[in-house]
Symmetry: C2
Subunit: 334 residues, 2 copies
Amino acid sequence: MNYSDKQNIEAFQSLVRADLDSLEGSLQTALSSRVPLIREICQYIEDTPGKRLRPTCLFLAGRSSGNGHVDMIPAGLAVELIHTATLLHDDIVDRHSTRRGKPTVYAKWGNRIATIMGDFLYSKAFACLGEAGLFDVMEILARVTHVISEGEMLQFQYSRDINVSEDGYLEMIYKKTASLFSASCECGAALGGNGNGHRPRFSRFGENIGLAFQITDDLFDYLAIDKHIGKPTASDFSDGRVTLPFITSFRNAPDRAKRWISDLFGTGTDVDEHWDEVVSFVQEYGGVEYAMNMARDFGEKAKGSLLHVEPSRERDALCFAADYVVRRVDPFSK
Amino acid sequence: MNYSDKQNIEAFQSLVRADLDSLEGSLQTALSSRVPLIREICQYIEDTPGKRLRPTCLFLAGRSSGNGHVDMIPAGLAVELIHTATLLHDDIVDRHSTRRGKPTVYAKWGNRIATIMGDFLYSKAFACLGEAGLFDVMEILARVTHVISEGEMLQFQYSRDINVSEDGYLEMIYKKTASLFSASCECGAALGGNGNGHRPRFSRFGENIGLAFQITDDLFDYLAIDKHIGKPTASDFSDGRVTLPFITSFRNAPDRAKRWISDLFGTGTDVDEHWDEVVSFVQEYGGVEYAMNMARDFGEKAKGSLLHVEPSRERDALCFAADYVVRRVDPFSK
């Protein structure tokens, strides 16, 4: 995360800083356990905390929907716990060795412990919601957790497949990423006081900002700008995962170039050496521009979803986030 | 499962046969997915179905508690899905290669797919409950799923540890096994029409029958009778897991015998060759009798929990099950 990221995220979060501070306290409590190894691993995870983007969306959506009384903290907690559980199991499936600049739980303790810890966090999320009696939220998050597991399986199936379609990619990133942003925003709206009309609006906002977020995240690999994220260059591609910029260029490229890149993709191991050429391939055949445009469209759709929500500073903060998610990769709007 | 098991389970299930038949239909629907690999694995799992003991407990508890109108099928479904998810992740943690006489999902598809499939089934359980609006049940099952994950971690920590205490063992089998029986019975009572007074009674019943069930299951390894279950002889012990019969005898044995068995346990690999001697060790120092007595006590406690529940054939079926769970290993009561 560079300086500009940090500043923008702080601006995004400033209106719900008090909620986020309470969340930290609740996380501490939720991640305690009588079982020593569980305590140790929870501590390890929380030593490099995430950016709490999903709870921030939830709190802002709740406050934009008129929430002034219902306690939203258990809902924000549940969303963050589910997100963390997803990462733990994701790292097993993708065999990631590092995350946030240090070894993953999977790499450090092995897949068996990482499986148990994911289950521990998933179930903790739902146990906290049950205790707080937030049954609407529980229903939304149960549904989305199921969608995420389908997305995980799709990603697994698409790995080492160079012929993934744009629709397949979009379905996968919706299920793996956007669905939880959508659910977070919907949970906020469900806890708000302005009736159920807001739920589909915030749900659509979350879906679209989530899609924009994942597409721009996938774009970083193909941009010649400083990297904001902790992943090694070419990791998606050399791990056998194609993303929107590549999918587009592969569709557009002439047969000769297609054959060359297919052979390279097939070998897997040579990719790091030839990474510059892969980036040139993607840039030459229009993949970067296409993905950038699509991210921009999703960002606009996100903002459009909130047009009929009463104006408020919290609503504006969500729209600011939609702009920022796109702007961070867009050289023309900096 | 031998002939007498089959007969006894049929008797236990006869009063809720219609519920169990509906359950099969719901399972078919729940285990469908647009993702082909998920469908394939669900089919593989359901080709050798379990005995549906937990949903049976739930349905009988519900009908003993006056249920005549609330649809209990989604609750039975959720309990069975959670049980199946637990087995999938359990097989990863314990590296089990076979279950119900065929390769585990873990062995056939690898730990990554087994992780995703467990998540798929867990989340499906909660999604179905949310859809059905069974929030009491959701709360009970969220809590228990969390307890199960702690039990899984305890089991992992206790593996290769010969000094596990009786209390440690009991905590572990409560968390890993008895808690879900307890929750199943409590869910049934929560859906019954006789008020909340029944919930703790059925919860206690489930806890005690669950403890009796696991202790007798662990006893089979040390009995010189036909084996009823699909596990290879000595598997728990040679995998480094000690159970109540062993724990008791190890506590009672003189130092010389303790040293011998510790050395054998430490090597792991030699166990199958020396298995007869391990069985003799456990039988000689009282472990079998002690565990048998404890299982009998838990069986009696289970029945005692239902003393103040109105008499009904369904309540009697639960008591019959408590007797049977113990009787199946008890040479004096056949």
